[in-house]
């Protein structure tokens, strides 16, 4: 079983330290959710894990199956099995999804078939995948397209950065079902950053982490999400 361990992670954006000693451990097949108010560092975590150039790790460790990821490039991290799905995936004019996936290591002979299968599973028209990467796609289509990449690339861990924001109920259901299936199909671990409980219900999250001021301030089962729904983040802010 794969294991992702984040220890004492400190990350700065510009001069500002956003993550201040973030800890989290999870295994393949599990669904963990990270919830927290705006500015608490949720998105910073996602971007730092994938070596976004705007985020500087100053301290800490991220190990995947015992191997330190922080010394590796974005490419190598992805190839070790960590894949980030973005809230606002980038448009890449002139580049077709199939070419992206082949360059990312997908099997050249099977990639087209696999893309169509995955598109079908998340209710995305295969025609959309003939357009350039994310160009002229609606918000919902982009997120479904991210799921197609995930389904083809089959990472050990998927980090979802607010992929539920702006999705209608149908799209949310499709994305959540695909992720849930991934946890059993290849023991994919899912780390979902979200504002909304809805995704967690659909995903059947195993563990909820509440983040405030750049670190985890509470960890619990699904009941924690319900508590957040009732009380908001304020009690957790005070708690730390």
């Amino acid at each position: 079983m794969s294991e992702l361990v984040i220890e004492n992670l400190h990350v700065s954006v510009g001069d500002k330290e956003v993550l201040r000693g973030f800890n989290l451990a999870m295994r393949g097949g599990e669904v963990h959710a990270i919830m927290g108010p705006n500015g608490s560092g949720k998105s910073t975590l996602a971007h730092a894990l994938s070596a976004h150039p705007g985020y500087r790790v100053t301290e800490g460790s991220v190990r995947l199956d015992g191997e330190e990821l922080l010394t590796l490039s974005a490419t190598e991290r992805a190839r070790r099995g960590l894949l980030l799905a973005l809230q606002q995936p980038f448009e890449i004019p002139g580049v077709r999804p199939v070419d992206l996936l082949i360059a990312a290591g997908a099997d050249r002979d099977e990639v087209a078939t696999r893309m169509n299968e995955e598109a079908d599973r998340v209710g995305l028209s295969a025609k959309v995948l003939e357009r350039f990467v994310n160009v002229d796609l609606s918000g919902g289509e982009r997120k479904r397209a991210e799921m197609v990449q995930l389904g083809v690339l089959r990472p050990k861990f998927a980090v979802l950065d607010e992929i539920d924001s702006g999705l209608d109920v149908d799209a949310l259901g499709a994305v959540a079902r695909r992720l849930s299936a991934a946890t059993s199909e290849w023991n994919c671990g899912v780390l979902a950053i979200t504002h909304f409980r809805r995704l967690l219900v659909e995903l059947a999250a195993d563990v909820i982490h509440v983040v405030s001021e750049g670190r985890v301030v509470a960890t619990g089962g699904p009941e924690l999400a319900e508590e957040l729904e009732r009380s908001g983040y304020e009690p957790f802010r005070v708690a730390h």
């Binding site: 994938s50 070596a51 976004h52 150039p53 490039s73 974005a74 490419t75 991290r77 992805a78 190839r79 894949l83 980030l84 973005l86 995936p89 980038f90 448009e91 890449i92 004019p93 002139g94 580049v95 070419d99 992206l100 996936l101 360059a103 990312a104 290591g105 350039f132 990449q149 690339l153």
Partner: protein, 413 residues
């Protein structure tokens, strides 16, 4: 060492009866080569240019076939071969198309060549030293579907190809002009395209000369009412690649689309000039220039849109995007407008910058290597230029661009 002057003089002696040649030569001798203090030549490495090194071609060299010529010929209906400015093969007969050589001294603009090009030193050299004018005529109403390929090979020294393309009323054709060879040479094409009423020409000037060559080209389209010129200029070769592409929109509703694509490496200079002259109402010009410069190469795009009084409801746009693939590479973009009519639509946009770091990161975060991410982004950058080319040609050019890119180092700023 007086190679150029000696060979030019002996060439002119053989054409002693042609007054225009002699006048053009005299005009050149009087004005001399341009200087970099002259604004339109300021980006040319004229300091390294020694005209006397080149010997004027007196006869065509041998014809050789390159893989690119074979690939282009495979998709063409007729292949015309010009070597060192001399027509050596007019290709097989094609319905509606006539290919000939003429001792023409007039510009398709009307008036003599000399009048038209009097202030352009290199064009004057062509007026004096072109062996003859290659004339491609497409009959009125003829719809020539298969592309006509004109291969210009330069085997040595200085050559001065001159070409006139004339499309009769309502004619349609696709012409691909391909330039290759030119090792240590100077190639100075002078071309004119006349499109009569409602004629439509898709034209590609594909320059793939040797990296040591100097290429100084000038093309002008003369468009009558409802005529349409779609011109693609692809510059991959030459040490100094200068391409001036003008269009005069003389008849109402005439339209000109011009796309210039270039890729610079080593110490290449790509110098693109355009001049779109709108003389009639409801004329349209759409210019898109997209290029990438690597290593210590440089590029400049200078475009002038000129709209005469009375050219009402003209729509003119120019866009220029430059990709810098190394900190030592440099690109300049100079769009100019000269508008003497109020009722017009005019727009220009330009950008110069490196590959988008976040787009690259996005690809890398999927597991794409940095080199592949850069290759994908550069190919993506050129994609819209390639799709505008005839499809067989697009594949050839894409492979050519990819091959060139594989030998270029992308260095982050």
């Amino acid at each position: 060492m007086e190679n150029f002057t000696t060979s030019a003089t002996s060439f002119l002696l053989e054409h002693a009866k042609n007054v225009v040649r002699h006048d053009a030569w005299s005009a050149f001798v009087e004005s001399g080569l341009p200087l970099t203090s002259d604004e339109v030549w300021r980006y040319a490495p004229l300091g390294n240019f020694a005209l006397e090194r080149y010997q004027v071609a007196q006869a065509p060299g041998g014809v050789t076939n390159s893989p690119l010529v074979d690939a282009l010929a495979a998709g063409s209906g007729r292949v015309v071969r010009v070597v060192d400015g001399f027509l050596v093969d007019a290709g097989r007969d094609t319905d509606g198309v006539e290919v000939s050589v003429e001792e023409s001294v007039d510009s398709l603009a009307g008036g003599s060549l000399l009048e038209h090009y009097e202030r352009d030193s290199f064009a004057l050299l062509n007026c004096a030293l072109a062996p003859s004018t290659l004339v491609v005529r497409v009959a009125p109403g003829a719809h020539v579907t298969a592309p006509i390929l004109i291969v210009y090979s330069a085997t040595s020294g200085a050559s001065f190809p001159r070409t006139h393309v004339i499309l009769g009323r309502g004619a349609q054709a696709t012409i691909i002009e391909y330039f290759e060879g030119g090792r240590d040479g100077l190639v100075v094409p002078l071309e004119e395209y006349q499109l009569d009423d409602n004629a439509s020409l898709q034209l590609v000037n594909y320059q793939r000369l040797d990296a040591t060559a100097w290429h100084v080209a000038r093309t002008t389209g003369f468009l009558a009412r409802d005529a349409r010129l779609v011109q693609g200029v692809v510059g991959l070769g030459s040490h100094y690649d200068r391409s001036r592409n003008d269009a005069e929109l003389r008849g109402a509703n005439a339209s000109n689309e011009l796309r210039t694509t270039f890729l610079g490496a080593g110490d290449q200079v790509h110098d693109f000039r355009t001049h779109q002259l709108h003389l009639a109402p409801r004329t349209t010009s759409t210019l898109l220039s997209k290029g990438a410069v690597a290593d210590s190469s440089r590029s400049v795009y200078t475009g002038l849109i000129e709209i005469e009084k009375g050219a009402k409801r003209t729509d003119a746009r120019q866009t220029n995007h430059n990709l810098l693939l190394s900190p030592a590479a440099h690109a300049d973009s100079v769009p100019n407008l000269d508008i003497r009519e109020n009722d017009v639509m005019c727009a220009h946009a330009s950008s110069v910058g490196p590959l988008d770091e976040l787009q690259r990161w996005y690809l890398e975060s999927r597991g794409v290597s940095r080199a592949d991410a850069e290759r994908l982004l550069i190919q993506g950058f050129f994609y819209e230029m390639l799709t505008a080319l005839p499809s067989d040609l697009a594949q050839v050019v894409e492979a050519d661009v990819t091959d060139t890119l594989s030998r270029v180092a992308v260095v982050a700023p």
